[in-house]
């Protein structure tokens, strides 16, 4: 995702066109992270919408200490976590329902390394991620896909760094169990 500083500054100044362009340029990245975190299209959509509302409301508070994309990802993960926490409180949807209705969406524009890995292995990984609990998924996606530091993930989840590591390790174990469970591990080959 490339968002020029000038565009961010114009959007901060309230330029409607700049805001629109900002959303246009970053919607795919935000949606992708939202999808990886929530595991389904409907929630990813809600999270993306909530993210951009928060981003536009708080643009003036963005000081540029981190890159705009880092800030955007942070707001996205926060929106996703808020949605999941609300859902948990309501106990509206079970994990089984989520996994039953899971359909991998079309992934686009793979990088060189991603292209070298069979799409089958990626599909199985994405499917395996959707089988993790929300707590496990959020920590493993933030760390292993987006490379957030432990401290930031811990702060997001409202837990200590040690507890965050324990959760990450457990999530990796479960992910491995799911992947190995379907006998897929040996097929995941990087060419």
């Amino acid at each position: 995702m490339e968002v020029p500083v000038e565009l961010v500054e114009s959007a901060k100044a309230g330029d409607e066109r700049a805001i629109e362009e900002l959303i246009r340029r970053s919607q795919t990245s935000v949606y992708t992270l939202a999808y990886r975190l929530t595991g389904n299209e409907e929630d990813a959509r809600d999270v993306t919408q909530e993210t951009f509302i928060r981003v536009v409301r708080n643009l003036k508070k963005f000081r540029g200490d981190s890159s705009f994309s880092t800030w955007l990802y942070r707001v996205t993960s926060n929106s996703a976590y808020t949605l999941m926490a609300k859902r948990k409180r309501r106990a509206a949807e079970s994990l089984d329902e989520l996994t039953e209705t899971f359909e991998p969406p079309a992934d686009t524009a793979p990088g060189p390394e991603a292209r070298a890995i069979s799409s089958d292995a990626r599909d199985r990984l994405v499917a395996a991620l959707s089988k993790l609990s929300e707590n496990d998924r959020i920590v493993v996606v933030m760390k292993d896909i987006y490379g957030f530091p432990h401290e930031e993930i811990a702060a997001e989840l409202g837990i200590g760094v040690s507890a965050c590591k324990v959760r990450l390790f457990r999530a990796r174990q479960r992910l491995r169990d799911v992947l190995e469970g379907d006998g897929a591990s040996e097929k995941e080959q990087v060419s």
Binding site: T108, R122, G147, R176, E188
Partner: protein
């Protein structure tokens, strides 16, 4: 160390975050080495997903723009209402303050008149008459 003991900490091998005893066990245990290779392979596979975008639904952009515009309108309207409310409160407060001042002055003026009248009465009252007679 047993493999079962090492298993809990083994996923830390992805970033090289292993306690000393687990790292030592890993040196000599083929089973745990194989596990570590799996964790690293999965993590590498996960990392490739960062570059791989999920295509958003076709109508998402339009609905995002609509919701952001709607939210901005709503917030502007709330701010305007709040400004009007604050303005109204300020006017009401100013009116109340003026009323209080006028009332106080009126009271003071009335008190002054009463005092003057009292003094006049005292002055013209024949000596020896009581307050009761004067009132």
């Amino acid at each position: 160390m047993e493999c079962a003991e090492a298993a809990t900490a083994l996923p830390g091998c992805v970033e090289g975050d292993l306690p000393e005893d687990v790292a030592a066990h890993l040196e000599t245990c083929i089973h745990c080495q194989a596990e570590a290779v799996r964790y690293k392979r999965h993590a590498r596979l996960m990392g490739t997903l960062a570059d791989q975008y999920v295509e958003p639904p076709a109508d998402l952009l339009e609905s995002l723009l609509d919701s952001v515009i709607e939210d901005r309108k709503h917030r502007r309207s709330v701010r305007r209402k709040a400004a009007v409310g604050i303005g109204g409160l300020a006017i009401a407060a100013a009116g109340t303050a003026v009323g209080i001042v006028v009332h106080q002055r009126h009271k003071a003026a009335t008190r002054g008149l009463v005092e003057i009248a009292g003094n006049v009465i005292d002055a013209i009252r024949p000596a020896g008459t009581s307050d009761l007679v004067a009132s």
